[in-house]
């Protein structure tokens, strides 16, 4: 009898422990995987992989906003953000350039060539150390040169960036912006390759063994026109008052593939694109889906296997999506799409996506130059944008040469366009210049922002090994909140259907300009010894001669032909 009581209580205890355990061990974690495939207007094919992990944050006072238990959420990332007091983190590796005029706006906003890292960090005394340590840690984690984002490349944008977490907390929930500071760094000259993808895949619960991540074949993924791999970590609110917060980890891979390049036709299948099919869904995922954006009605095509059609909920978003739920699938999924056409004809008209920008260098020679950014507003309304540009210290900007003008409308004064401005001058070898402006673009206009700079003469040790290649200068970033229909190229549809629309405000866009290559004057790298010798010779000549003149006295040579004459020195 007694024995049974003990055993009964033991069972109760065990059950209790087990339930608590399962709660702690992250049963509350959730994981979702999605793949969006969208044919683009110029025959290319956009594939966008998105993996979302949600985990509840500790709400107790002393561990506010910290993670203590790991289930599906990768511990490597959790520890990094805990240790460095990071509230929100965005890291993007991009290869190639997103063609806004041909492809519209990207699904994931960060699209600047190279590596872009920005983080909202809790503002305490150690923030600088934390940021340095964060870049170094991430550098090790992703096998990238992120450690080169040092003080000379780090900037603190004031106007352009907002915390993106908790359904765009900045707009809904201002207090989330308090006590945090933004750090932004960009490495334009960074090649992205498999060594970055491998650690990225390891963060996924199913790695690349199951689910749509199985398609991520590095051999095919990097043979593309554009490739971007990102990791976003942001807190999201679960209610309006934001009493319960979850931490969300969004991992994305965006590629633009070109089926037309090989065959002249737009036909594609998963095996032709990735050499693989999708074997099954990832068992821990709550949702696992593949979506294909269907072309407009007038075009005729076949898509197999059979699909479910979803229509966009939004009024102006009537395009249809083919939807595959992998959890219901019984056999490996190999999508195939064929078009009823002999060969693909390129469209004559480029897209007019609304707001695009191009940046280029002006001037010639190694002494000075200028940067001009042309911002195209193709909307019929005037549009307010935030302009952000961080220029490295070795290009010395002259703010008094800044000109903002509307091409063709010289009568519009600079004051009517520039609504607000923030400028931080550079400090040699320690800080970049940051130029931010709020601009009001007139409808259907081209606004030119131009500024002059001097090129700095660097010490010979400060040049890269390939000194004559030049230095890469990061892109200018234009962010704007546009009417929703402007941004319906890809992102909107995806977000409208996807359950978690809170990663970005639907109508916010970011436009990245080209990165630039500025050639700086180079010294002769073989000369150090010669220069030291020659310069010191001139100095010694002066010092020696003057010293001699000052300390020696003149004397008359009394009688010629005597002993003194042979000893005469000059």
């Amino acid at each position: 009898m007694r024995y049974t009581r003990i055993s009964a209580s033991f069972i109760v205890l065990c059950t209790y422990i087990l339930t608590t355990e399962s709660k702690l061990s992250g049963r509350q974690d959730s994981f979702e995987e999605e793949l969006l495939i969208s044919p683009l207007d110029d025959g290319k094919l956009l594939t966008h992989f998105q993996f979302t992990t949600l985990v509840e944050l500790d709400s107790s006072k002393e561990k506010q906003g910290k993670l203590s238990h790991y289930g599906l959420f990768p511990k490597a990332i959790g520890q990094v953000i805990n240790h460095h007091n990071v509230q929100e983190l965005h890291l993007t590796f991009t290869q190639g350039r997103w063609q806004y005029e041909e492809w519209g706006y990207p699904v994931a906003q960060s699209a600047g060539t190279g590596v872009e890292l920005w983080a909202w960090m809790r503002a305490d005394a150690n923030i600088e150390t934390n940021w340095r340590s964060l870049t170094n840690t991430l550098s090790g984690l992703f096998c990238a040169s992120l450690n080169f984002i040092d003080d000379t490349l780090t900037s603190r944008p004031e106007l352009s960036f907002r915390p993106e977490g908790s359904n765009n907390s900045y707009y809904h929930n201002r207090h989330m912006n308090e006590g945090v500071e933004l750090r932004y760094g960009h490495l334009p000259h960074e090649n992205v390759c498999t060594e970055n993808l491998t650690p990225w895949l390891k963060l996924l619960p199913c790695k690349s063994k199951a689910g749509i991540a199985a398609l991520l074949n590095a051999h095919k993924l990097y043979d593309t026109n554009y490739h971007s791999m990102a990791i976003h970590i942001l807190p999201v609110c679960q209610d309006d008052a934001c009493t319960v917060q979850k931490l969300k980890l969004v991992q994305t891979v965006t590629s633009v593939l070109d089926p037309v390049r090989d065959t002249g036709r737009r036909d594609w299948s998963l095996t032709s694109l990735f050499d693989r099919d999708i074997p099954s869904y990832c068992p821990v995922s709550e949702r696992s889906s593949v979506m294909v954006r269907l072309p407009a009605q007038k075009e005729s095509f076949q898509l197999s296997p059979n699909y479910e059609v979803i229509t966009g909920k939004k009024q102006h978003n009537q395009k249809n999506m083919a939807y595959y739920d992998l959890k219901k699938a019984t056999e490996p999924l190999n999508l195939q799409m064929t078009w009823d056409e002999e060969s693909f004809l390129y469209p004559a008209e480029p897209l007019k996506p609304g707001i695009v920008a191009h940046k280029y260098l002006t001037g010639y020679g190694h002494e000075r130059g200028g940067v001009t950014v042309n911002i195209f507003n193709q909307l019929n309304d005037s549009q307010e944008i935030d302009y952000f540009d961080s220029v490295p210290w070795y290009l010395k900007l002259y703010l008094h040469t800044l000109k903002v003008s509307v091409l063709g409308h010289e009568s519009i004064s600079q004051k009517d366009i520039v609504k607000d401005m923030y400028y931080q001058p550079a400090i040699d070898r320690s800080r970049p210049q940051v130029l931010e402006m709020k601009l009001l673009l007139p409808p259907n206009s081209v606004t030119a922002v131009s500024i002059e700079f001097d090129k700095v003469f660097l010490k010979y040790t400060e040049h890269r090994p390939d000194a004559n290649r030049g230095f890469d200068v990061g892109p200018a970033i234009i962010s704007a909140v546009v009417p929703e229909h402007i941004n319906d190229m890809a992102a909107n549809e995806f977000n409208a259907i996807s359950k978690h629309t809170d990663m970005e405000a639907l109508s916010q866009i970011k436009v990245y300009t080209e990165i630039l290559l500025a050639s700086l004057p180079t010294p002769d790298f073989s000369m150090p010894y010669n220069v030291i010798t020659l310069t010191c010779t001139v100095i010694a000549l002066f010092f020696g001669s003057l010293f001699k003149l000052l300390i020696q006295k003149f004397e008359v040579v009394e009688d010629e032909g005597q002993d003194q004459q042979p000893e005469k020195t000059t």
Partner: protein
């Protein structure tokens, strides 16, 4: 009198005319031979722009000029833009006028000095010739038209010299303090200025007393200027941004001096050592020259100005214009110089080739940095030879005056 007015007017009008030729004025304003990072008018404009738009101008790597210039040009910028050329032309012409006064005073003082037999009865150099030599020196004109702010340093030095010759210790020290405040190096001109007042002032003080009084004036004026600057800018940031740049050479933009390429090419671990050596080297000549030429302190000022123009960290042709303008004040020593032809050729050679080699390196890409470096070396060699030559000439002439019996005999140095 008519001649003097003519020279000044012509110089003034010539400058204004050149200011009105944008091709010349704009080109000169960007030439590395003429403007340096610490005297560039473009950077002054940038600093002023930042200052007027409440961005701290010294919190950045672009503006390295003292707050006094900021305030001065802030005041000028409220006037029409044509005032700036007039200010520059007027200041330069005024320097020319001051040179005549200095020459008059020097000749008045040196009347009592013994001279050579051959010089007896001969007139000294006409003070207006000295002014004309300064005002129509192409280096002076180029420097002025480029709106280089070295002009204000030169003005302060010349004013200080003029006041010292008049025996006005306070004024002299105030102006030399301003010159030191503007570009740091003129601080080494303070001892010869003290010597001038000590030697020739009407109210004679003992040397110790004179040094004490002068040093007090100098230090207190300098302190006042620095404190006023602090009040104007609201922080001490300007100290590092102006004098830090001059002394630590943070900006390696080429100029005609010897620092830039040396420190571009310098190995990092020896950088500080050579920086200290080079900067000390520029200053060490003040004491020995003052001792050796204690009878001729004006000459010490000239030689030290020359040393500044060679060995300062950011020299420009404006520095050379100053000492070349002052040299004719001691015109009597020219007959003892030995390398006139060589030096003239070195100057012409570098003046011709510097722009060409710069173009080859920076624009054409068919030359490299060594080309321009070589030509700055030639230019500095010319200046070094010139300084050595005038020092020799001064000593040799003094020797001949002291030893008239040695005339015609061979004289050696040992």
């Amino acid at each position: 009198m008519e001649k003097s007015l003519f020279i000044l007017l012509l110089a003034f009008i010539l400058r204004l005319w050149l200011f009105n030729l944008p091709a010349i004025a704009n080109t000169l304003a960007t030439r590395v031979e003429v403007v340096t990072p610490i005297t560039s008018f473009k950077r002054l404009t940038e600093g002023l722009y930042l200052y007027q738009h409440s961005v701290p101008p010294y919190d950045g790597g672009i503006f390295h000029q003292p707050p006094f210039l900021l305030v001065l040009f802030n005041a000028i910028s409220t006037l029409p833009s044509s005032v700036i050329p007039i200010v520059y032309a007027a200041v330069d012409t005024y320097i020319g006028y001051l040179l005549t006064i200095i020459t008059y005073d020097k000749q008045r003082i040196y009347e009592k000095f013994p001279t050579l037999q051959v010089e007896k009865g001969k007139k000294d150099i006409d003070p207006w010739t000295v002014a004309a030599l300064y005002l129509f020196n192409p280096l002076t004109i180029a420097s002025c038209v480029s709106k280089s702010t070295i002009l204000f340093t030169n003005l302060s030095i010349v004013l200080s010299l003029a006041y010292a010759l008049k025996g006005k210790t306070i004024h002299s020290m105030l102006w030399i303090a301003l010159a030191s405040y503007l570009s740091c190096y003129p601080a080494m001109l303070m001892p010869p200025m003290v010597l001038i007042t000590y030697n020739w002032a009407p109210h004679q003080l003992s040397l110790g007393k004179q040094v004490q009084v002068s040093a007090m004036y100098f230090v207190s004026s300098l302190a006042m200027l620095l404190i006023a600057s602090y009040i104007l800018t609201g922080s001490w940031d300007y100290l590092y941004s102006t004098y830090g740049t001059i002394l630590c050479l943070t900006d390696l933009t080429p100029n005609i001096g010897m620092f830039w390429y040396f420190f571009i090419e310098m190995f990092d671990q020896f950088r500080n050592f050579f920086l200290v050596v080079f900067q000390l080297h520029a200053f060490i000549f003040a004491a020995p020259l003052c001792i050796r030429f204690r009878e001729h302190p004006i000459f010490v000022v000239i030689v030290l100005s020359g040393i500044m123009s060679i060995f300062k960290s950011y020299p420009s042709i404006g520095d050379a214009a100053l000492y070349l303008g002052l040299l004719p004040v001691h015109g009597e020593i020219f007959k003892y110089t030995r390398y006139g032809f060589l030096i003239a050729n070195l100057f012409l050679y570098s003046a011709t080739l510097a722009p060409i080699f710069w173009h080859l390196w920076i624009y054409a890409g068919s030359g490299n940095a060594n080309f321009f470096y070589a030509i700055t070396l030639v230019y500095n060699l010319g200046q070094v030879l010139l300084l050595i030559d005038v020092v020799y000439a001064m000593l040799r002439r003094s020797f001949d005056i002291a030893n008239p019996q040695a005339l015609g005999k061979e004289v050696i140095q040992r």
